[in-house]
């Protein structure tokens, strides 16, 4: 039976930059996928593009591609699919073309998938009966329209598969559903119809499992101490058969672990109803699959079931929502927890006296259960804690003033404060997330080749 072997060498922008190279070298892959776009990455890329029309994509990918080029020469059948295009897949593809040409890989066609960016069409769409109602709150987009910086539909696997069918050896996309990076090569290579819901669901299971990189191979595993050599963790590979059965594994002689536990944990990662995992390609039923360990670091997955996709695309909208900063100081001593709470209150007190109230503020004593405040408490008083104070406000100047209120505490607060050498905390722009839907009929994916 025909099979396709897809490895994912990048789980987010910021992931290990050597992983794609090692996976391409040792994975015996047909396809390498690289995933760069978290929920709010697009808003950051949108601002970069606003300042510079040739920017707005995941620049890490360009470095990775330069290093991949010699490998692509020795493995001419290896294809690469990535969403590194971000807000500007055409600009990303131009940079990629320069690398391709320099490396003597001229025969490698570069496919571009665009059309996900709805920002230029937002008012037209709003005026023609697409309200972009907030999926969580039911609010109308009108309330924040003027602050919107990005609005992207999550496209599916079809335009990527079209690019592959037209001969692309590298496909660069904007926003697509993460799992679709794997569904496209599987559907293209295995000759599936876009109505084969069970097969598309199987590839969606595969894509979902590998999209976060090492999270499928021992990373985050509750029993991580049993994963050999996690420092040398192998990135995940999905080996998918034409009938929709598949195996998840990793390259030989790498660290980490692929077993029922690691795969079960990752299968449910960032999932709502596991019986209805919605993508633009299919509604996958994760409760239908059977997992079997068929070897060391090999889990076979069978029985994937799916239903036809809905007639909407999910849309991720980001809008400006003021500014924020978080500063930290170390507080030592027998009463560190109480002291750091009081010191944090002093910071906000002093700002109040200077005439500043903030839209939102938070004092955390890290070491005292701050990750889940009020839920988990320390058994014994900690010898030191990290005081973290954060504010959010529409006024940048107010947040900048806040950032200056940490170091005074070193001489004018309780004793035992240290660790202030990192300087004033940076002020960052806040983007709020607005999830919505749009009719598929209103969006047209654009495929082109370089």
């Amino acid at each position: 039976m025909k099979r396709v072997r897809i490895g994912n060498g990048c789980g987010f922008w910021g992931d290990n930059i050597d992983a794609p190279i090692l996976l391409a070298q040792h994975g015996r892959l047909d396809y390498l996928t690289l995933e760069y776009l978290a929920e709010l990455t697009m808003s950051i890329l949108a601002l970069q593009k606003e300042r510079d029309p040739t920017a707005g994509y995941a620049t890490d990918f360009i470095d990775v591609l330069s290093r991949l080029a010699p490998i692509l020469k020795t493995q001419p059948n290896l294809k690469v699919v990535t969403n590194a295009g971000g807000m500007n897949p055409h600009a990303c593809a131009k940079r990629a073309r320069a690398i391709r040409d320099q490396a003597g890989l001229k025969e490698m066609r570069i496919g571009i998938v665009a059309g996900d960016d709805l920002l230029p069409r937002l008012d037209e769409l709003l005026a023609t009966g697409h309200p972009f109602t907030n999926l969580d709150t039911g609010e109308s987009l009108e309330s924040v329209r003027e602050h919107v910086v990005s609005a992207n539909a999550y496209l599916g696997a079809r335009p990527i598969a079209d690019a592959l069918a037209r001969g692309a050896g590298l496909v660069i996309t904007g926003r697509v559903a993460d799992a679709s990076l794997s569904v496209a090569p599987a559907a293209h290579e295995l000759g599936w119809s876009w109505q084969s819901a069970d097969q598309l669901a199987a590839a969606t299971v595969a894509g979902h499992l590998i999209e976060c990189g090492a999270q499928a191979t021992g990373g985050l595993w509750c029993n991580w101490q049993e994963a050999p050599d996690l420092a040398n963790v192998g990135y995940p590979i999905a080996d998918i058969a034409a009938d929709g059965s598949l195996r998840i594994t990793k390259p030989a002689a790498t660290g980490g672990r692929v077993n029922i536990e690691t795969i079960s944990e990752q299968l449910l990662y960032e999932v709502g109803d596991p019986a209805a995992y919605l993508t633009p390609d299919v509604v996958a039923d994760f409760t239908s699959v059977a997992l079997h360990e068929v070897g060391v670091d090999v889990v076979e997955i069978s029985g994937s079931r799916g239903r036809p996709a809905t007639d909407s695309y999910k849309v991720s909208i980001a809008y400006r929502d003021g500014f924020a900063a978080s500063g930290m100081l170390v507080v030592f001593g027998g009463d560190a927890l109480e002291k750091s709470q009081r010191a944090g209150t002093m910071i906000l007190d002093r700002l109040r006296r200077a005439g500043l109230e903030f839209a939102a503020s938070n004092i955390e004593c890290i070491g005292g259960g701050a990750c889940v405040p009020g839920v988990v408490q320390p058994d014994l008083p900690p010898p030191e804690v990290v005081l973290r104070v954060s504010v959010r406000d529409p006024r940048r100047l107010a947040v900048e003033r806040f950032a200056k209120e940490f170091s005074p505490l070193v001489t004018s607060g309780p004793p035992g404060i240290t660790g202030y050498t990192t300087g004033r905390p940076p002020v960052r722009e806040v983007f709020a997330y607005w999830p919505a839907l749009v009719a598929k009929s209103a969006v047209r994916a654009e495929v082109s080749l370089l």
Binding site: L40, T287, D321, G374, V375, V391
Partner: protein, 126 residues
């Protein structure tokens, strides 16, 4: 069969993982054995999870089952104080929620022999 109820952390009978979707988080709780899954199904209700995380003020907790994985999946709505970028908490994305839930102390009645729920050693060595 034990003669007394046994108190133990949820992590003795289950593992899990948590993540975010906007301002919501999900927590997967996966039993090590069939007996453990039977116990979770009966005792780890959406209401119990909502009560445990009450200080984080989720507006709603939903529970889904994936019997094929021996898993329960909880969705905690509006629990991330704004979610990635907007939240002022150190854990903006709910990465730690699963480990926090696995620290929950649970009481297993003698009739529901807790030993049958513990992680089989064979799995540990595979």
């Amino acid at each position: 069969m034990p003669t007394h109820a046994t108190v133990l952390p949820l992590s003795s009978i289950a593992h899990g993982r948590s993540g975010d979707k906007g301002n919501h988080a999900n927590i997967a709780v996966i039993a090590y054995t069939d007996a453990g899954f039977g116990w979770l199904r009966e005792h780890l209700s959406a209401a119990a999870v909502a009560a445990y995380f009450a200080p984080l003020a989720p507006t709603k907790v939903e529970r889904y089952e994936a019997a094929n994985l021996r898993a329960l999946n909880f969705v905690l709505r509006d629990v991330l104080a704004g979610g990635a970028s907007r939240s002022l908490r150190i854990d903006t994305q709910g990465k730690t929620l699963a480990l926090a839930l696995l620290q929950m102390q649970v009481e297993v009645a003698p009739s529901a022999d807790f030993r049958a729920m513990l992680r089989p050693v064979a799995v540990a060595k595979s």
